[in-house]
Amino acid sequence: MNSLYQKVSPAYSQAVAETECAADLRIPSARITRIKAALFAAPYSICLERPKLLARFQRSAAGRAARKEHPLVRRALALAFVLSQRTPRIYPDELIIGNMTSKRIAANYYPEGGSINILEDLFRLEKRTIPLKLTGKEKLDLALIGLTTCRDSMGARALLKPGRFGHFLDFFSAKRYFITEEAGIGHQVADYHGLVHRGLKWMDAWAANCLENCRLQNGKSLDEDQRAFYRAIRITIEGIRKMAANLARTAEKQAADPALADPRRQELLTAAAACRRVPYEPARTFLEGLQSCWLVHVALNQEDFEQGMSFGRLDQILWPLYCEDQAQGRLTPATAAEITASFQLKTCETMPIYSERIDQYFSGNGVAQGITVGGTDADGNDVTNALSGLILEAYAQIATREPALHVRVHPATPAWFLEKAVEVLQLGCGKPSFFGDTAVVPALENAGMTTTHARDYAVIGCVEMASQGRTYNSSDAALFNLPLCLELALNQGVCYGEKHFNNRLGAATPAVEQMRSFDDVAAAFRQQVEHAVAEMVKVIGWLEATYRIWRPTPINSMLTDGCLAQGRDVTWGGARYDLTSIQVTGLADTGDALYALRQLVFETRRYTLPELVRILKNDFRDHAVLQQELVHKFPKYGNGIPAVDAMTQLAADVFADAVRAHLNSRKGRYVPGIYSMTCHIGFGRRTGALPNGRRAGKRLSNGLSPADGADRQGPTAILRSAASLDSRKWANCHALNLKFDRRTVQGKSGARVLSSLLTSFFRQGGMQVQINVLDGAMLRAAKSDPKAYPGIVVRVAGYCAYFNDLQPAVQDEIIERTSHGMES
C-alpha cells in the first residue's frame, strides 16, 4: 500500500505533456453536447427501485432466511440482491455505462436514511422550488414505501426509544446543531487506486483466504464478527459482479441491433468488454479504469447514500493507464478527454431528496462527487501531470453542477496547471475549488495521519478531508450553530425567544449580572459550546451503534485500508484513520459579536452586560441607532485587522477544542471543519440578535467567509484575514467563498489576477478558497425568469448548485453579497 503510484519515466511524461498542447480539449465533441442536452432535458425525479427491491428481498425466502444471519451478512445479502436485480440502462452516446438510478436523473430513495422527509412535500412535488416529476402511481408507491419503512431510518431506530424522544424531535427544530449523519454517512474517498490496479479480485482473495484459514492475515483466529465481515465482503463482490455482467449483457444486446451504426456498435462492445472485466479484474486501459471506478461508485451509492461519494486523485490513479494507452497508440488526448467528459456527465444522474423544510439547510441539490487533481507525492514532490490538466479540460466541456472539482496547490505547482484551473474558473461554475497543501497537510497530521498519508489527501465532497483509501471520515456528521451558544451564554442557557425560562436548551451558566469581565463571558460561551457538542456527540454515538447493526457498509470497507487486515467493517472501526467531523456555522458572526461585546461592555463601558442583553432580547427594537452603529462602525473580521480577526480565532478555538475533546464510539477522533452548506440560513432563522448588529432571524455568516457586508476592504483583505488564522486544528478544512463579478476577472488579465490571488493566498498559508465568477445582472434576471437561464452554476457553500435550484433566500444572498471589484 505504501508505494503509492507506479512510476512513469519523466521523459515520457514530458512527451505526453507536449502532445497535449495540440488540440483545445475544452471544446465538447458532438457526443458530449448531445449527452449534456439529454441530461438538461430530463426532469428530476425519485427512483423507487432500490426500496422496492429491498422490500422484495425481505419478503423472499432468501430474505427471511437472512434475518437469522449476522447483521453484516444480512446487510450484504440485501445489498447483493439489490445490485444484481437492478435493471441496467444504457443511454445513447455514453462511453462509460452504468445507471445511477432507474431514471435519467433521480434521487435514490433510502429508507434507512432521511429520504422519508420528502413525504412532507408529497402533494406538491411539481410545485416545489425543485420540481420532482412522479406519476400518480409512483406517488402512491412513494407514500406506501414511506409509511411501511418509516421506522427503518437510522434516526428512528436510534432515537425512538425511551428517554431519547426529545432528541428525535430535535431533528425537526434544528437549532443548536443539525445531525446530518442521520441520513447516512456517505462521504468517502474509497481506495480507487487499489480498485483500478488490483481489482476487487484482490479483496475477494483476501477475504476468501481469511475465511478458509479461519485466521486474520496476521495469524489471529477469526471471531464470529470477523467471519461475518469476510463473508459480507465476498457476498457483495458477487453482487457487484452480477451488476456489471447485467450491464455488459444489455450493451451486447443493444450492439446486436442491426439498425445500429457501426461506430456506436463498437463503442457498446468496448463498454461491454470493459464491464465483463472490471471492477473484478484490474483495469488494462484508461477507459476500463474509469469504468471500474464508475461501477463501484454506483455500488457505493446503493450501499450507503449519495452525499459526498468521491473519486479521489484520479489524475494519479489513472496516469499509468493513460500513459500506457498512449504508448500503445490506443488513445489520443482528445479521446481521453471525451471519455473523461462522458464519465463526468454520469455524475449528473444523481441528486439528493430534501423536503423544502430540509432544503433551507442544504439548498441546491448537490451531492458533491469530488475529483481531486494536482498535489504532491509522499515525499512532497509535485506530481501534477497531463491528466491533471485533461480532467479540468474535460470538465470545461460540460460545465455542469456535478462533479465537484478540487485542485491542490503547493509551492511547486506548475504555472500552466494553475492557469488551466483558472480558465475553468472563468467559466463561472464555481469550479474548481483550491486547497493549499501547506496548510492542509499539517492539519491532517494533527489529526493523527502520517506525513506520507497526509500528503495523499483527497477532498471528500465539497471541502472535507481524507487520506484517500485509508480514511473513514463521517465528514459531514453534523453542523453546529456557534452564535446560538453565545446567545445561550448570555441567558443562562435559555434561548431569548423562550417563553418558559425552565425550558433550558443549554448549560446552566451564570446570569449576566454575575459576569464581571470579558473572560467570564468567554467562559460561559465555552461552557455552552462544550455542552452542545457533548449532546451532539451523545446522539451521534446512538446513531453509530445503529449503523453497526442496521447499515454496515461492506463495499466501503473493502476499499478502506485497515478493514481487511482487521476483519472489521468501517462502521465497526476497521479503518486506518477513523474520524467524525463537525462543522461550524456562523464563525465570523461569533467573532465579530465577541469583539463588539467586549468593546461596548468592558472597554468603553457604554452599556452594562445586562443592558446589552436586554437590547439583544428585544432585537434592537428600541435601539436602532446602536444596531446601525454596530453594523457600520464596528470593525469586523475579513478586513485584515489583526485585533478583530483574533476574536474569530478565539471563537474557532473554543469550537475546535470542544470538538477535539471527544472520541467517537469507534475510538476515532472528532475533528472540526468550518463550512455551512446552507445551514447558515436555517440556523439564522432560529438565532436571536447578536452584539455585532446582526438582527434576529437573519442568516449567519457562512463557512470562513466574513459576515454579510462586513468585508469593506476587498478580496485581498479577506484573504489576508483568512490566511492569518491558525488552521492546524481544522482537519476537516473550511470553505471560504470569494465572489467576483465576471467583468472583473475575465480575459487574460483576469486570469492573471485570479492566479496571483491564489498564489499569494496559499503562500501566506491559506487552506482553501473557492471563487464564484458571476454577473449580478445575469443572476437577477435568472431569479425572475428561471426558465430563460438554465444551467447557471454557482458555488453555494462548499458545493455547486444550479442557481435555479436554490431557494429564493439563498439566491438573494448570492446576488447581494458584495460583488468584489464592483465600484463603491
Partner: protein, 324 residues
C-alpha cells in the same frame, strides 16, 4: 491655497486607500487617493478629490433619519441631515462621529507616511505575485508633492512598483525636465509608470470643460516624453477619457494622436465614461454635473480603430500590455 501647508512634509490629506484595484497600472494595486485637484472637469468621477482639505459629506441612502447628527453639531450648522450652512461649518466632523450609519461621512483624513505604509505593507505579497504595486491617484498627487515624493521613495526602497496618475497640471521646467519644482521632480523620478491624463486638445475647449488651460499639460507631457523610456525614467502612458460629444470628436482624437506620435508615444488607454460622479456630487451638496450617455461598445471600437490607424496601440483600462 494649501491647507495645512506647513506640515505637508509629514502628512497629507488622503481621501481613501483602496486595495485590489486592477485598472490603474499593471497587476493588483493599491490606490492612494490624494485630495486636491487643479482642474474641474465637468465629467469628473471623483468630485470629492477637488478640494485640498477634509470635508463633510452626506450619503442619503444610508441615513436612517435618527437626527443624532443634528443634535451633535456644536454650532447648529446642520439644519437637516442633508442641509448644512456650508460657510459656517467648522469641519469639526462631530456629526460624522455621531452618525451611526456612516451617512454623515468625511472625505479626507490626515495621513502620515508611516500610517500609509502600515496600511500598504500587508498587500505586498499580492503586488509581488501579480506584478502590481501602488498607484498615486486623486485628485492630483503633485499638489502634495513633498509628502508624495517622500512616501514614493520609501515605497521604492521597499521594492514596490509605483505608478502616478496625473492630470499634468504641475510645474516642471519644460525645457530640460530636470528642475522646476524640485519636489515634483523627485516624485516623478521615483515612478515606474506615469499614467498621463489628456482630455481636450483645443485649449479654449479645454478651459471651458476642465476649468484651466492645457498649455502646461501639453508642455509637461512633451518634456516627460522626451526623457521617458530612458533608463531609470518612468514609462509615460497617456490616457484619454471618452466623454461622448466632448472628447470623442474625430478632431480631438486626431489632434491628440498626431501630437502623441510626434512625441514618439506609441500607446494610449481610452477610459470610457461612467456615471458614478453625480451620486458623489450629491453627497458633497454640489449641483449635479451634466449627464452623458456611456459610450457604446461599437463607438469604443470605432475610436480604437481610428487611433490604431493613426499608429497608436490603443487599450482599455486593465488590458494594457505595459512596455515602451
Amino acid at each position: 491655497m494649501a491647507w495645512n501647508r506647513k506640515k505637508d512634509e509629514e502628512t497629507a490629506v488622503i481621501f481613501s486607500i483602496q486595495h485590489f484595484c486592477l485598472q490603474d497600472g499593471p497587476g493588483i494595486r493599491s490606490l492612494i487617493f490624494f485630495k486636491g485637484c487643479p482642474l474641474r472637469c465637468v465629467w469628473c468621477q471623483n468630485p470629492e478629490s477637488w478640494r485640498m482639505d477634509p470635508e463633510p459629506a452626506f450619503k442619503a441612502h444610508l441615513c436612517m433619519n435618527c437626527r443624532t447628527c443634528i443634535a451633535a453639531c456644536p454650532g447648529g450648522v446642520l439644519l437637516q441631515p442633508d442641509r448644512r450652512k456650508k460657510d459656517q461649518c467648522r469641519r469639526c466632523f462631530t456629526c460624522v462621529h455621531a452618525c451611526p450609519c456612516g451617512a454623515q461621512s468625511r472625505f479626507g483624513e490626515l495621513h502620515s507616511t508611516d500610517s500609509i505604509l502600515k496600511e500598504l505593507r500587508p498587500e505586498y505579497p499580492y503586488f509581488r505575485d501579480s506584478g502590481g504595486g501602488v498607484t498615486f491617484s486623486g485628485g492630483e498627487a503633485t499638489l502634495s508633492a513633498a509628502f508624495a515624493a517622500d512616501i514614493a521613495e520609501r515605497l521604492k526602497a521597499e521594492g514596490v512598483h509605483l505608478t502616478l496618475e496625473t492630470c499634468g497640471q504641475f510645474s516642471l521646467d519644460t525645457e530640460t525636465a530636470t528642475d522646476g519644482d524640485p519636489l515634483v521632480q523627485r516624485l516623478l523620478m521615483a515612478m515606474d509608470l506615469i499614467l498621463y491624463d489628456i482630455k481636450l486638445f483645443d485649449d479654449e475647449t479645454h478651459q471651458r470643460y476642465c476649468g484651466g488651460s492645457n498649455q502646461r499639460i501639453k508642455a509637461n507631457l512633451a518634456a516627460l516624453a522626451r526623457s521617458g523610456g530612458q533608463k531609470s525614467r518612468p514609462l509615460v502612458w497617456p490616457r484619454l477619457p471618452i466623454i461622448p460629444g466632448i472628447t470623442d470628436t474625430w478632431d480631438n482624437l486626431g489632434s491628440w494622436a498626431d501630437f502623441l506620435m510626434d512625441l514618439g508615444l506609441k500607446h494610449i488607454t481610452i477610459v470610457p465614461y461612467h456615471r458614478l460622479g453625480n451620486a458623489k456630487r450629491a453627497w458633497l451638496g454640489l449641483a449635479p454635473g451634466p449627464e452623458f450617455t456611456e459610450p457604446s461598445p461599437e463607438a469604443l471600437q470605432a475610436i480604437t480603430r481610428f487611433l490604431e490607424q493613426k499608429g497608436l496601440n490603443c487599450y482599455t483600462p486593465g488590458e494594457e500590455e505595459w512596455r515602451n
